[in-house]
């Protein structure tokens, strides 16, 4: 695939890739931005080569995930505190309805806080399935695991997510 085609593909999947990078980086926007730029560089410089064996998005998500892992490995502090610091996930769009905006903000805050408490694999699977609308087999391909393993993590993650969302506490 030539560079202009790669750039067009990256631009097309940019928003989804940004969401996935955020998820891989514990909703740390600065880190996610760095990881995304590094991943794009890898793709454009040919250090990560698309072989066409899967969909471009699936392959790109795999590159972003590996880059985020490398990024975290390099930073000892981030490795020690991978998901403890959940920053304000995003500055919400200011809605014309303040009540609706507040509710939306609360939903997002609560969900990201709960996701941060899940084990990595479970969080990644739930993100890919519910956020990206991927099938479990596609998600398994991104994560480089078998479909059976992915399904197990998915079920456990979903159960745990429901418990945490339904539970009372500091969330």
């Amino acid at each position: 695939m030539h560079r202009p085609d790669l750039e067009a593909e990256l631009e097309r999947h940019h928003r989804a890739a940004y969401g996935w990078a955020l998820s891989c980086c514990g909703w740390d926007r600065a880190q996610a931005d760095d990881v995304l730029q590094t991943s794009y560089l890898k793709v454009l410089e040919g250090r990560a080569t698309f072989g066409g064996r899967s969909a471009f998005r699936t392959w790109l998500f795999g590159v972003i995930r590996r880059t985020a892992l490398e990024y975290r490995r390099r930073s000892a502090i981030r490795r020690l505190l991978p998901l403890q610091v959940v920053r304000g996930p995003m500055e919400l769009h200011v809605s014309t309805d303040p009540a609706a905006a507040l509710e939306q903000r609360e939903t997002t805050r609560r969900l990201t806080a709960v996701l941060a408490r899940l084990p990595g694999r479970q969080r990644e699977l739930l993100h890919l399935v519910f956020y990206e609308n991927m099938s479990i087999s596609q998600a398994a391909e991104v994560l480089g695991v078998g479909v059976g393993t992915a399904r197990t993590h998915y079920e456990r993650g979903k159960r745990r997510l429901r418990e945490l969302l339904g539970g009372r506490g500091e969330l």
Binding site: L10, Y18, P89, M90, L92, H93, T107, L111, F130, K158
Partner: protein
């Protein structure tokens, strides 16, 4: 049915999250900065540097190595023995100045006695 409802609830939550993320996502920008990489010097630079080092080492070794014939003559001419040097020639001095090897003590003693004799003769010559 309950499962589906729960899934729908989760999907709704993620949909809200996704809309927030997409609203605030920065636009795509072409990666401009290249990561800083440590570049190795080209091979010819390394080879040239090594060759220079070796040539320098050889030049220094040959310059400061074996003394020339002129130097040897000059050193020989400067040999001088003090009038009290014979006092330093004590019996068995060679044994004190060297590490004896097993089985070679006898020979070393002979060498030492010859040395003593030589020194005594030389001293006599100086006195006379």
């Amino acid at each position: 049915m309950t499962q589906d409802m729960n899934d729908n609830d989760l999907r709704d939550r993620f949909r809200v999250l996704r809309s927030d993320v997409e609203r605030t996502a920065p636009p795509y920008r072409r990666p401009a900065g290249r990561p800083v990489r440590v570049r190795l010097a080209p091979v010819w630079v390394t080879v040239a540097a090594l060759a220079t080092l070796v040539a320098g080492a050889v030049w220094i070794a040959t310059r400061d190595g074996a003394p020339s014939a002129q130097t040897l003559v000059a050193l020989d001419a400067t040999w001088w023995a003090g009038p009290t040097d014979f006092l330093l020639a004590t019996p068995g001095i060679e044994l004190l100045r060297s590490v004896p090897t097993i089985g070679a003590i006898e020979g070393a003693a002979d060498e030492a006695s010859e040395e003593i004799n030589d020194t005594a003769e030389r001293t006599e010559r100086i006195r006379s």
